[in-house]
């Protein structure tokens, strides 16, 4: 753990945003909210699901085409720890429907992965991705940055064969309207500290004070 504590990291904005999440991320609430097909796909439950939008789009480095997104879901997933052990080699890739998911932490001890699921937007600005009808699962080992649409399609087909189905959603918070991807980091940091406290350095690192 670092000698320099950065608890002062959380900005006023982050605190305000976090307050909207806290009801769904209580530390004591470690039980999966829903377990659907727990033995298939390696994702046991969605513990937290909060939609967000970004005024400034962000590049999704987790697939080969590097699309941009300006909306998505900030989620906390209960996962099979055997699938998230850190390694430099290829790891199981986390999918949500036809998109790869950005993982914030590993969760190899806690079994909780904080992640960002990119979404397109509908014409009215709402999120196009309906998480309630979207399966989330771990596919084959690969570098996410190598995953393209062809590979996604193949993984979706495999998941369907395995019987991966959507997971029931927990209570969903209000949509967070954020200026940029930067504003997600403090939220992610808090979620890491709450749901995967063994990864304290990761959480604290995300809460580092912003350069003015």
């Amino acid at each position: 753990m670092k000698k320099i504590i950065v608890l002062c990291a959380v900005t006023g904005l982050a605190l305000a945003l976090y307050s909207t999440l806290s009801p769904t991320v209580a530390v004591e609430n470690r039980r999966p909210v829903v377990v659907a097909n727990p033995k298939v796909g390696g994702v046991h439950a969605i513990v937290v699901a909060t939609p967000f939008t970004l005024q400034k789009a962000w590049t999704h480095e987790w697939r080969a085409e590097k699309p941009t997104f300006d909306a998505g879901w900030l989620v906390v997933l209960e996962v099979d720890t055997g699938l998230v052990q850190p390694t430099q080699m290829e790891e199981p890739v986390l999918y949500a429907g036809t998109e790869t998911v950005e993982r914030i932490n590993h969760g190899e001890q806690s079994g909780r992965v904080i992640a960002i699921v990119p979404s397109k937007r509908n014409r009215d600005g709402t999120l196009a991705l309906d998480l309630a009808s979207t399966p989330i699962w771990f596919g084959a080992r690969e570098l996410p940055e190598r995953i393209d649409a062809v590979r996604v399609a193949a993984e979706v087909a495999k998941a369907e064969q395995l019987g991966v189905t959507p997971l029931r959603l927990p209570n969903i918070g209000a949509v967070l309207h954020l200026a940029s991807r930067d504003d997600l980091d403090p939220l992610c940091g808090e979620l890491v500290l709450q749901h995967s406290p063994q990864e304290q350095d990761t959480g604290m690192g995300l809460l580092a004070p912003r350069v003015k």
Binding site: M1, K2, K3, I4, V6, A9, W58, E61, W62, P86, T87, Q88, M89, E91, E102, R103, H106, L143, P144, E145, R146, S180, R181, D182, L184, D185, D201, T202, M204, G205, L206, A208, P209, R210, V211, K212
Partner: protein, 662 residues
């Protein structure tokens, strides 16, 4: 008879030259060195760590006129020739010169300890304190006609290095901050930076599952010697390409926010023309990919230039992207490999797990440090698994001390041009190690070092030209009687380290599928085996060169290796056009070719991947004593294997036989 007249009759040798800037008759000559157990009995050196004994020696076989001469030997603070001209007074740093009478007999009769380890290497934030050695034959306490000096111009006779593993003189300030998503940074700089001018920058890019706050050992150590270090949030989970992007964005972010980061402490004190990148695992491949983008022109830096990057260093790198992308090209490149790495483990079943690929792709200066028993996670400071497999494991604390010992010379050489730092890149651990590092018998280090070809080295054979093993790449003949000699790509052909007659390169992972790095392998089991290279007619004169250099590795799990499991040695012999020969057993310098790290897995048997190490032999050592070898007219270099010239049996990989100018 005046000694100056005696010296005038001495047959000149390569290392003895009159100095036009100094009064006539003063001889510049190597004097400082260390005794060795066999011929050449004494070898001249440039550098010692504090606490080591320093000797001088007179080779009366080469200078018989010296016998009977008396002198006072001074160790003095280094002066340039101009300074000596202004002031020739001799002031010994210990207060008293050492009297000597040159004896009859060879160099073994005329060795004198001039320091028992008391000389200071305290160079502040720099590396190495220079001293000159003067032999005052006329006892006048002046550097004057007839005297000998080791150390002139900008090159001292010897350097004493303070322990490179121990902290430098500056207190360090650490600041953690973020510029936004994937721009978390952990910054280290000397607290008194305001008084230090413009300092170089090292950027640290962590690996997958690691954290940017886990590199205190690098940051605090180098900042205490005047280097700004910034370790950043690295986007490793998507892969090394994404990591490369964050190396670039974080470097740019720091350089473009100097007025605001750390309250503006770095403003005016960061030299954007001196930058080094250090990466770990996926991040170690990432820093190479980032350089490749700049080299290829697919990325143009905004706040620095390609030339700003003085070196790139990869700690246990992956190699997902292969030859065309994960390529250091022309940047000075340094590699770190942990023999106990249980993640990027080096097994040939995993192409992306082989660290040495990146090293052998580097086209200019390149160096490698292999540490037996060190795990993947031992290179960082996080409180997580060290990911270590194998016997005799090295702790994270001991690993960090070793890293510090080698990182400081790396920074000082590439940022400040401290030439003596190069000694740390190739001298064997067995005889040249920083105090403050572990003395455990488990610590085994293999160093590879190759200079930028532009310095003027002459390659006798690097086996890169596929013209068959009978002709060296320099064009001379190569002959041998060692069984099973094969020339080819240095890439284990199958997926295991299990010994196999059909896989002659077994254990060698210097090259990947598309790499072209080549060399030879061979073995022996008994006396009388040799490997010999003819000197090409164009280069019979080796006097411009300082060292014979080659790299070699014992090959794991081979019966010949396992039969003699220890440092492997052999003898190098030079022959001139007059039939004179001179031989040196490489073991006399300490060490040899290290035995494989005795790890199991990756197939049957015991012994991990081949750790090549560079051996450099001073060419002038072949002229020690009664040797009349004519270094200006050499015809052949022989390597003699088996008893009595070396280890009775062995199996070797061998490459890069080179004459080095420095």
């Amino acid at each position: 008879m005046k000694l100056a007249r005696l010296l005038a009759s001495v047959v000149p040798v390569a290392s003895a030259t009159a100095l036009p800037q100094l009064p006539p008759g003063i001889v510049s000559i190597d004097l400082a060195g260390r005794s060795v157990q066999e011929y050449p009995w004494f070898t001249y050196e440039r550098a010692w760590f504090e606490g080591s004994s320093v000797e001088i020696a007179f080779d009366t076989d080469q200078y018989p006129q010296l016998v009977g001469a008396t002198a006072d030997v001074y160790v003095v603070a280094h002066r340039t020739s101009a300074q000596w001209e202004l002031d020739g007074a001799l002031v010994d740093v210990s207060g008293t010169p050492r009297p000597i009478t040159v004896q009859a007999g060879d160099v073994t009769a005329n060795r004198l300890v001039i320091d028992t380890g008391l000389l200071s290497g305290a160079a502040g934030a720099s590396l190495g304190v220079g001293y000159d050695v003067v032999v005052d034959f006329d006892h006048d306490a002046l550097l004057s006609t007839g005297d000998w000096i080791d150390g002139v111009q900008d090159e001292p006779g010897l350097y004493i290095l303070a322990p490179t593993a121990l902290p430098g003189p500056y207190a360090v300030t650490e600041v953690i901050y973020s510029g936004g998503a994937l721009l978390g940074q952990d910054l280290y700089y000397p607290t008194n930076i305001a008084a230090l001018g413009a300092l170089p920058l090292i950027v640290v890019s962590h690996g997958n599952g690691h954290d940017y706050t886990w590199y205190d050992h690098i940051g605090t150590h180098l900042a205490s010697y005047g280097v700004i270090v910034m370790s950043h949030q690295n986007n490793t989970m998507p892969g090394p390409e994404a990591a490369a992007t964050t190396t670039l964005t974080n470097t740019e972010y720091l350089l473009s926010h100097l007025t605001t980061i750390a309250g503006g402490a770095l403003q005016g004190h960061l030299d954007t023309t001196r930058i080094g990148w250090i990466g770990h695992s996926r991040g170690a491949e990432g820093v190479v990919i980032a350089y490749d983008r700049i080299f290829d022109g697919t990325y143009t830096p905004v706040n620095f230039t390609k030339q700003s990057l003085r070196f790139v260093s990869s700690i246990a790198p992956t190699d997902f992207q292969g030859l065309t992308i994960s390529n250091p090209h022309d940047v000075p490149f340094s590699l770190w490999t942990g023999g106990g790495d249980d993640d990027v483990n080096g097994c040939p079943s995993c192409e992306q797990c082989q660290t040495f690929h990146l090293h052998d792709r580097a086209t200019k200066t390149r160096q490698s440090i292999s540490l037996h028993g060190v795990g993947h996670g031992s290179f960082h400071g996080g409180a997580t698994s060290t990911f270590t497999a194998g016997p005799c494991q090295i702790s994270r604390t001991d690993t960090h001390a070793l890293m510090k010992a080698y990182l400081l010379p790396l920074a000082k050489h590439y940022f400040e041009g401290v030439d003596v730092a190069r000694e740390c890149f190739y001298r064997q651990w067995e005889e040249f190690r920083s105090p403050g590092t572990s003395q455990s018998v488990c610590v085994n280090i293999d160093l590879m070092y190759r200079e930028d070809p532009a310095v003027g080295d002459f390659i006798i054979d690097d086996f890169q030209v596929a013209n068959g093993p009978g002709i060296a790449s320099s064009g001379g003949a190569m002959v041998w009687n060692t069984p099973g000699l094969v020339e080819g790509r240095f890439d284990d052909l199958d997926t295991v380290f299990t010994a196999s007659a059909t896989d002659p390169m077994n254990g060698i992972t210097l090259g990947g599928t598309n790499d072209t790095t080549r060399g030879i392998v061979f073995e022996w089991n008994g006396p009388g085996f040799f490997l010999s290279f003819d000197t090409v007619p164009a280069v019979p004169d080796w006097t411009p060169y300082q060292f014979i250099s080659f790299r070699a590795a014992q090959l794991p799990r081979a019966a010949a290796t396992l039969s003699e499991l220890k440092d492997l040695t052999f003898t190098v012999r030079l022959a001139d056009a007059w039939g004179t020969e001179s031989s040196i057993h490489i073991g006399t310098y300490g060490g040899g070719i290290e035995e494989p790290y005795m790890r199991t897995g990756c197939g049957g048997g015991q012994g991990w991947g081949a750790d090549f190490e560079t051996v450099r032999i001073p060419i002038r050592d072949f002229r020690r004593g009664a040797s009349q070898l004519d270094l200006s007219n050499l015809t052949r270099i022989d390597f003699l294997f088996g008893e009595p010239t070396g280890t009775p049996a062995g199996r070797l990989g061998f490459d890069d036989l080179t004459l080095c100018v420095r």
